[in-house]
Amino acid sequence: MSPEAIAPESGASTPPTSRGGPVSFNAKHLLGIEPLSVDQIQLILETAKSLREISTRPIKKVPTLRGKTVINLFFEASTRTRTSFEIAAKRLSADAINISTSASSIVKGETLVDTARNLEAMAPDVIVIRHSSAGAPHQLAGSCTACIVNAGDGAHEHPTQALLDALTILDHKPSLQGLRVAIIGDIAHSRVARSNCLLLGKMGARVTVCGPPTLLPVGFERMGAPDGSLTVTDRMDEALEGADVVMMLRIQMERQREAFFPSVREYFRYYGLTARRMRSAKPDAIIMHPGPINRGVEIASEVADGPYSVILGQVASGVAIRMAVLYLVIGGREQAPRVAEG
């Protein structure tokens, strides 16, 4: 048997490269998309592509991170993201420990820093943190020696979501460069929108964000690419016009009580995605949603379950992206992941 036969897919064991040469991740934490360079984003995407194949094997496990400890520290309810990180860690043979706890330091009677120091004493290699307060991962990074991965902090960033969205788009489109992406919904409270605008902006896509004016935060037009290619609109048809990708965001029911919009019915009339509205987009446009979806609130079932929906593809990409991120922050900064079955 030739060596190539062991490698399941050609290219899987060669170092990811960008702009012609090998690159290193060279970052200890993944706190957000904002501090990442284009090269670092590309490295994560390339690494994820090469690791994705592991999840298709009969034995879905490689020894790459054997002996490493990953703590999933979730201060906010989450099934999808936590499970995704846990599976990612386990497929790389890391030991994954899940901690779900109350978000508020005040309620808990222990500060975030104290919680972190306690965990630190158990010598984890990575702490994956989800927290309802923006900036919590940054505060953790300032007081821990472990690698910190942001799994969503308040309305700030959700970098692995933006990365998995990019990976999903690339399954359907040749490049992010010049792609027209519409992001529609509750922009104000969305970390997914922020991370996606930052990532897509860096990668040369043209993003339009859309929602009722009450849910469009001040200065959002400056969130995108430095060339000012990000557009903000309160007209859904304008956002959908010629879109290659349509990303719908979840609407929290409690926003009604906070008077951001009068009713779900009215919201859906103006900002719900229907098959009819999709006619404004390109014929081959794909539809994405970070989940969990509210059928009939921000997206009609016919669209969510329709042929252009790649929502489940996003979930699959999530595992690959998180494997890549764990691998790269732990130390796979130079060499390619060992993906040979073992």
């Binding site: 330091s105 005040i106 307060s133 200065g219 969130m223």
Partner: protein, 431 residues
Amino acid sequence: MTALLVKGGRVIDPAQELDHVSDVLLEDGRVSRIAPGLQAPGSTVLDASGLVVSPGLIDIHVHLREPGREDEETIQSGSEAAAAGGFTSICCMPNTDPVNDNPAVTSFILKEAERRALTRVFPIGAISAGSAGERLAEIGEMVNAGAIGISDDGKGVMDGQLMRRAMEYSLPFKIPIIEHCEDLNLSAHGCMNEGYQSTVLGLKGMSRTAEDAMAARDIMLAELTGAHIHIAHLSTSGAADLVRQGKSKGIHVTCEVCPHHFTLSDAACRDYDTNTKMSPPLRTEEDIEALLEAIVDGTVDCIVTDHAPHNPNEKMLEFDQAPFGIIGLETALGLVLTRLYHPGLISLPRVVELMSTQPAQLINQPLGHLKAGAAADLTLFDPDAEWTYDLGKTRSKSRNSPFHGTALKGRVAATIVGGKIVYQSSEYFNE
């Protein structure tokens, strides 16, 4: 008879239009004479050559946390920080536990200050009982006990009718109504200025309009009632315009500005450092420009610190959960000199006006000048000394400042209260 002779300093007293090198003789706690070449046998001599000698600095917006949060600050420790910052008088806000909304608390503060404080302490009473914004506190009783103004500082008085009543009721007492201008519905749940930075950081913003709207209402109520409204810690260009307009219409409106608001913008929140969280929040570069302009054109009446000590345990929380406020007594003069005097925006006599002469007038106290017979409260400072602020050396019981490690130009050399030296820097004097 005790006498202190301050020799050879540059004496600046805007109240007398004094600005020349002279000696100042202090006797029995009062200013006795100002003249060059004074001799006073038997008196203690303080060599002030190379230093500015001014009437003692007055900070009319300080939180001393006593009674209730003595872990954060006490009247004693706060006054020690004040003295080290060159302040000879401080006015303490009523949001203690219990709230200073009755004469018993007012008297307690004054008694405690008399026993332990290095500086003069003037209590500010609450506008409403418990500062709950529902019914008037015993304003007359508190004034009788020694309160020099009223405020529900920490939050705005949301009920316009209550504010009108407070203004009307206070007229015979001739006290300023000091308002923390913040429409709490408009700013709801915000933890920093609303703008591009809050959008990037994913933090809830406090709109500048929350401050402007309430300032507009209060200035209109002051016009209606004839009361003296003093806008606390003014931080926006809009509120500065409103005060400027109000003054030009002859309304009795005054305002104060904090050094942090004309030094840092909301970009300072980028690292989620909770020492950049205060209310009103750090605003934008445009607001900073507007505040500087308002200071230069005389719209701003005084500089205050809004010294707000917090236990480090609470400042260790997540940004949106941490309490508002920073300490500022020991950095105020340095920041004013660094940001306003050295770039040539205002003169040294103007610095003294903003930090001594005018605040004394605002609280109706016979302080802030060095006329013969005045209280012997003096601040000696070196306007050109370069130093770096070190939180490790603060006299405050708290450590919540964003200015640790900041290079400043202009430093306090000594502070004299009632003819007694309450602080002298080892950089200038051997004790």
